[in-house]
Symmetry: C2
Subunit: 416 residues, 2 copies
């Protein structure tokens, strides 16, 4: 208890745990550990959790009987003699139907316990369909997928939506790429799928795509171990997710992470949100095309190809492209400096095309942070490319949707 | 477990609590409840904490014997018959020497358990003194103050510093108003006061003034009950504090809340930090004077008087002053809109002169939020004046410095 030894935990008093709470928490702790860190021996679990060996035995037994964990030989026996068996997750012991609402259609991945992607599917939207019809189609596809897996002890749905999504109930205020506005998607899916104990699925969550990307990187990617992670994603538009000591800003209600719409230049370009000089008008894919003097193709896939071509030209040293990349990288640094001032992240992870841009031209971005940072921590904050780029939305959606199971495995499972 | 019922708690597995932990936590819960919410009956404490009556009796007994709580008659007997006695904090059972490092000198308040300010003192700085000498004087004064109270079971020091302060160890990177740079203030005070178990004081914390203001408002002011509180303070310069679900961003290490230095106009005014177009160049006291065409007096007290005169003129309807207030209130709205996008606060509390400015001219600020907010929550986010303006730094510093005691009352107290 010398200087500054304790962190102020400012929460008000709340009811203390009971013995039943402890048992439930410990069961969840064991499952969460293996889910996050992969197969490990009984001895390793005992040591990591600081529990009595006997207690761990009982908990492991419950989780194996519940079909969530399995005891098996290790894949890589490292020592002589008979190797200790390990406990691993059963991917089909709990599955999440993870949905990514893309412009062209919706992508579905079945993600199992332990973060394993078991299968992938994709359906195009009907361009003539209304929002209501599109949601109805989504419900129908998810019902069919869920029905094929009714034997799974825990099944949930997690939806990644690019747009303004309220954390508390998955209400989609605005999904600009889909043209959706004020859709109670969380409630509609829960109702359509009969979500709840004994239902077709037990739990439904809808969350902002960048928040989910942040979670995926924090749990299973370049953000692992960060204390305050700032995740910045851009393709068309810019989104952000902030994981502060293990919790996502905005996940518990309200909206947060709309970092693309901070005003960085009141005399700048008009943004599709209606305001002038939003950060995304200087750093997203279209900003790069504009800076490079490339005509903006309306089609999203064509935008991605045009961006790849500009990055390729810059890599080859063509001046106009290189200058455009430098300009966008500088604007990236300016916005990051603001966010570093405000949030004090100890790591920044870049997703989407920003990962490629930064790999190609890291210096202008770092230069701004060096000029404007008030401390060594701010000036030298690590900036890493996202490591789960293709699957980030799916993995993040799965983590959200598995949360009730990881918190209370016994209660969350279907009665068998 | 229907839609979105659970909030993702993304923390990794950590060791579970033992019975001793539970006892310690419960002792802290009882003390924290009375410290935060004031005197209450044994029945009320039992109900609020959901503990067994017998357990609460044992815990209250320990806290009374430890000199932290006292049982007494209620001050306002509301019912007939003999009123139930209440348990209240003993202000002198634990005291914090709360320090505010001001430009002219340092102010000291002795704050007792329960957030009661017991006494106040003030010393001017020696203008000829070096930083080392000033810190030595501070240590000397604090030693003298602490020596007068060695009978107090828990005594700590909490320092509010306007500037860039590292949350983990109270290292002052920059305190512009004092001209301090790279001062290991937390460590110097801890060493100079022999902080630790059995020492003259048990605990020392140094924190950013705006973070402490945010804590004071969250615990005992206009921020009570907010889920994500944004506190914005301005006199000379702008500082911010963010309390996210009970914890302060930046308190656990690193720097955060330097909201005054987000760039809002790359062609704007040069800031004292060296960058161009920082938000504080548009919204702090000097920005108001500049907008009103009033010459900037160098002396801080004179600045405050000049600002009060401009606000008074605006109130009286004088056009130049009213226009200056409108201009600054609009710039306040623009920065708040950025912060609302990024952080998604459910309440904003304005401290310092901004509370007066907003009371006088709330419309331009709200108009920007209405125009730029993406959701009803963002557009209509409540903006309140700070309610603990004079004592915010002291009360916040006391809350930080009392934290070890509130977390573990038995261990934190001096042996008696």
């Amino acid at each position: 208890m010398t200087a500054q030894s304790s962190r102020p935990a400012l929460k008000s008093s709340s009811p203390p745990p009971t013995t039943a709470d402890l048992r439930r928490d410990n069961l969840g702790r064991v499952l969460r550990l293996v889910h996050e860190d992969g197969a490990m021996t009984r001895a390793a679990i005992t040591e990591r959790l600081g529990l009595a060996r006997g207690t761990v035995g009982v908990l492991l037994d419950m989780l194996v009987r519940g079909g969530l964990l399995v005891e098996r030989s290790p894949e890589l026996p490292g020592t002589r003699g008979r190797p200790s068996p390990v406990f691993d997750t059963v991917p089909t012991g709990a599955t999440v139907l993870a949905v990514d609402l893309a412009v062209e259609g919706f992508r579905l991945a079945v993600v199992g316990l332990g973060g394993r992607v078991l299968s992938r599917h994709e359906w195009p939207w009907d361009p003539a369909a209304s929002t209501e019809q599109s949601v109805a189609t989504l419900v129908q596809r998810l019902r069919a997928a869920a029905r094929r897996r009714t034997a799974v002890p825990y099944q949930a749905v997690g939806v990644a939506c690019w747009g303004i999504v309220r954390g508390s109930d998955g209400f989609v205020h605005l999904a600009p790429n889909l043209g959706w506005r004020d859709v109670a998607l969380g409630a509609l899916l829960a109702e359509g799928l009969g979500a709840g104990p004994g239902g077709l699925v037990q739990h439904v969550v809808v969350a902002n795509d960048a928040d989910l990307g942040a979670v995926a990187e924090y749990r299973r990617g370049a953000g692992e171990g960060a204390r305050r992670l700032l995740y910045v994603h851009s393709d068309v538009g810019v989104g952000g997710g902030i994981v502060h000591e293990g919790t996502v800003l905005g996940a518990s209600g309200g909206y947060a992470g709309e970092i693309g719409h901070m005003t960085v230049d009141p005399r700048g370009v008009r943004c599709r949100c209606g305001a002038v000089g939003c950060w995304e008008t200087e750093v997203d894919e279209r900003a790069l095309l504009r800076a490079a003097g490339v005509a903006d193709p309306a089609d999203p896939a064509a935008v991605a190809r045009a961006v790849a071509a500009v990055l390729e030209d810059a890599r080859a040293g063509r001046p106009a492209a290189a200058e455009a990349v430098r300009k966008v990288a500088t604007a990236l640094g300016a916005g990051l400096a603001n966010l570093v001032h405000i949030l004090g992240p100890d790591r920044i992870v870049l997703g989407g095309y920003l990962a490629d841009l930064h790999a190609l031209s890291p210096v202008p971005t770092r230069r701004v942070l060096q000029e404007r940072g008030f401390s060594a921590e701010a000036r030298d904050v690590p900036i890493l490319p996202a490591s789960r780029r293709a699957d980030a939305s799916f993995l993040g959606a799965a983590e959200y949707a598995l949360e009730p199971l990881l918190s209370d495995p016994a209660a969350a499972q279907r009665p068998r």
